[in-house]
């Protein structure tokens, strides 16, 4: 048997204590970025992971199916695939489906069956209710069909993840062939739960994705709270509650990012006591209403959906997060060096304070760009 310890640590000096690595990059003007760049950035943080999980989310990659929900599915066996495909056919119009393209590489083995489906919600479901309809169907697959897991279910985006180092996973999925205006990457160092394909980050529902470094000691509280709203946690990993929490607060309740941050990483009560009456009431109300979504424990996360990338660290910042800007580009990373390998020159770098979100937003299409003098 191959010694994993030897492969990962040729110096043979025992246990390596590491942590996860995060990376996000967005062109706020909407120009496409090559997948190759984020693979390079993640490879630079190889030491942060241990090869038991790597993954990416990419936005703007399916312009030919912009209106269809893109489902990325993982199957542990053919039976799961058969049942899921029958389920999809009975609840959606399947516009197109195919294997998720991948190439055989020496580094990645044991891959499950990986397929993608471009789905239209059948007539009869009101347009406003389509997202909720899709969430319900995702939960039904994850909880009701053995060996089938939905990696992502948003439009014009997708999650690509698995067991391996992120740059190897990226090559496996041929991500160098993709272009998107927003990319998120993750390198996993599993601590409490197994390293399996569904347990790699990002976690996703609709077009929302979350990558996470840290651990949520509040996981069970968060999970119970979310169950009341119909979210079932099936991925055996704490990060999943963040993805559903984001969906509940940002999509269903339409709360702004600043409020999302105030729920996940609220100020300490001492700090709230020093605020204005209005702010005190706001924070006290959020705690009373959404206390079950307070994320306790150390974390830094990157949350993304179409048009927006958000970085957030826990309120006492027990995990790293660096932000940088270069022209229209915004970067978030566990380490500055990973940003510098793809953008050696930066206009600004900074360390976000705990609980204060860094927000990158897609700019509205500029009129001057049409005039050709941009």
């Amino acid at each position: 048997m191959t010694s994993v310890a030897k492969l990962q640590n040729p110096y043979g000096d025992g246990k390596l204590i590491e942590s996860c690595g995060l990376f996000g990059m967005m062109d706020t003007s909407g120009r496409p970025l090559r997948g190759r760049d984020i693979l390079k950035a993640m490879a630079n943080m190889r030491d942060r992971g241990n090869g038991l999980g790597g993954g990416f989310a990419a936005y703007g990659i399916y312009p030919e199916f912009r209106e269809e929900y893109a489902f990325h599915l993982m199957y542990e066996h053919e039976e799961g695939r058969k049942r899921t495909e029958a389920f999809l056919r009975s609840h959606f119009k399947v516009v197109h489906h195919e294997a998720i393209p991948h190439r055989a590489t020496a580094e990645i083995d044991g891959a499950p069956i990986l397929r993608r489906y471009f789905l239209r919600v059948e007539k009869g479901v009101a347009r406003a209710g389509q997202d909720d309809y899709v969430v319900k169907k995702v939960m039904a697959i994850n909880t009701g069909i053995d060996g089938a897991y939905v990696f992502s279910s948003g439009k014009d985006m997708g999650v690509f993840k698995g067991v391996g180092y992120p740059e190897d996973i990226g090559r496996y999925y041929c991500l160098d062939d993709y272009e998107g205006y927003l990319w998120v990457g993750h390198s996993r160092f599993p601590t409490n739960t197994p390293g399996w394909w569904g347990g790699a980050h990002p976690f996703s529902i609709l077009d929302w994705t979350v990558v996470h470094n840290g651990e949520l000691s509040s996981y069970d509280t968060n999970r119970w709270f979310l169950e009341m709203y119909g979210y079932a946690c099936t991925m055996q990993t704490d990060t999943e509650v963040l993805a559903y929490g984001v969906d509940l607060l940002a999509r269903r309740h339409r709360l702004p990012v600043e409020t999302l941050a105030a729920v996940f990483a609220p100020p300490l009560w001492e700090a709230i006591d020093r605020m204005s009456e209005r702010e005190r009431r706001r924070h006290a109300t959020l705690r009373a209403t959404f206390g079950g979504l307070l994320m306790n424990g150390p974390f830094s996360i990157i949350v993304a959906h179409h048009g927006e990338m958000i970085g957030l660290a826990d309120r006492i910042r027990l995990r790293p997060l660096v932000a940088a800007r270069r022209g229209d580009l915004v970067f978030l990373s566990s380490e500055e060096s990973a940003i510098r390998v793809i953008s050696p020159k930066l206009d600004a770098t900074w360390i976000p304070s705990g609980g204060e979100p860094v927000i990158a937003r897609l700019r509205p299409v500029a009129a001057e760009a049409v005039g050709g003098n941009a």
């Binding site: 630079n44 360390i351 304070s353």
Partner: protein, 252 residues
């Protein structure tokens, strides 16, 4: 002066550190590292009085357990710089990340710009070994947390202000000097506030001059800071009110 240049692009951190060590042990007085891109532990446990210049972005734990060398970083540094460093000096022409100089035992660290969270956490001191940290910009929360000794100076240049909370929480030794305004609620419960005395003023004048020499000619936060342009007035001194702040909690 014998000078040894290493191109660090694509070099594994252990190989890189091995080469730095070999160059120092071969008697080179200076080692120049070019294209550094996140390699960790640069200069760790080095015990030679060698000068190491780092170009690029060094990785975490730069100069950890270092004993004697001078490391000059021409750019930003990441987390854990100077971890448990014993002697020598680290100069950063830029900013640095979290947990800077954790448990540092001796030597000096100069950062031109800002630092992150938990800078100088559990800084130490024993006899003549008094670590000194000078930061040109500002710092974030838990600055000087559990500090057990040493001197930390925050010059407040660059205009970012000091928004940090929990400054000096659990502090039980050493002194923090902050130029500019600090509100009582930003401080840990174990911290007292005083005006710097005459000896403190002399110390501050000395480190300000040292900061000016290192960064006065650069393009960063320390630009153009001639001698005397950073006033030695306007500092507050934070000191520990108790020798064993948690003794009442745990040792009854």
């Amino acid at each position: 002066m014998s000078r040894f240049v290493i191109n660090a692009r694509g070099v594994d951190q252990r190989d890189l550190n091995g080469r730095v060590r070999a160059a120092a042990e071969a008697g080179n007085e200076a080692v120049v590292l070019r294209n550094v891109h996140g390699q960790r532990y640069i200069g760790t446990s080095l015990r030679k009085p060698v000068k190491v210049d780092v170009y690029g972005t060094p990785g975490n734990d730069l100069g950890a357990f270092m004993d004697g060398p001078t490391i000059e970083v021409h750019g930003n540094a990441q987390d854990g710089l100077g971890n448990t460093m014993n002697s020598g000096e680290i100069i950063v022409h830029g900013g640095a990340g979290d947990v800077l100089a954790m448990s540092m035992r001796g030597g000096r660290v100069f950062v031109e710009g800002n630092v992150g969270y938990r800078c100088a956490i559990h800084l130490k001191e024993y006899g003549s070994k008094v670590p000194v940290i000078v930061i040109g910009g500002t710092a974030q929360d838990f600055f000087g947390e559990y500090m057990a000794g040493g001197r930390v100076v925050l010059l407040g240049l660059g205009g970012d202000g000091l928004a940090a909370n929990f400054i000096g929480t659990g502090m039980h030794g050493g002194a923090i000097f902050i130029r500019g305004r600090v509100d009582p609620e930003q401080l840990g419960k174990e911290v007292g506030v005083a005006e710097p005395d005459e000896a403190d003023q002399a110390f501050l004048a000395g480190v300000i001059e040292d900061y000016r020499r290192r960064f006065g000619r650069g393009r960063g936060a320390g630009r153009g800071r001639g001698a005397g342009q950073i006033p030695t007035e306007g500092f507050v001194k934070l000191y520990p009110r108790f020798l064993r702040p948690y003794g009442r909690l745990y040792a009854q």
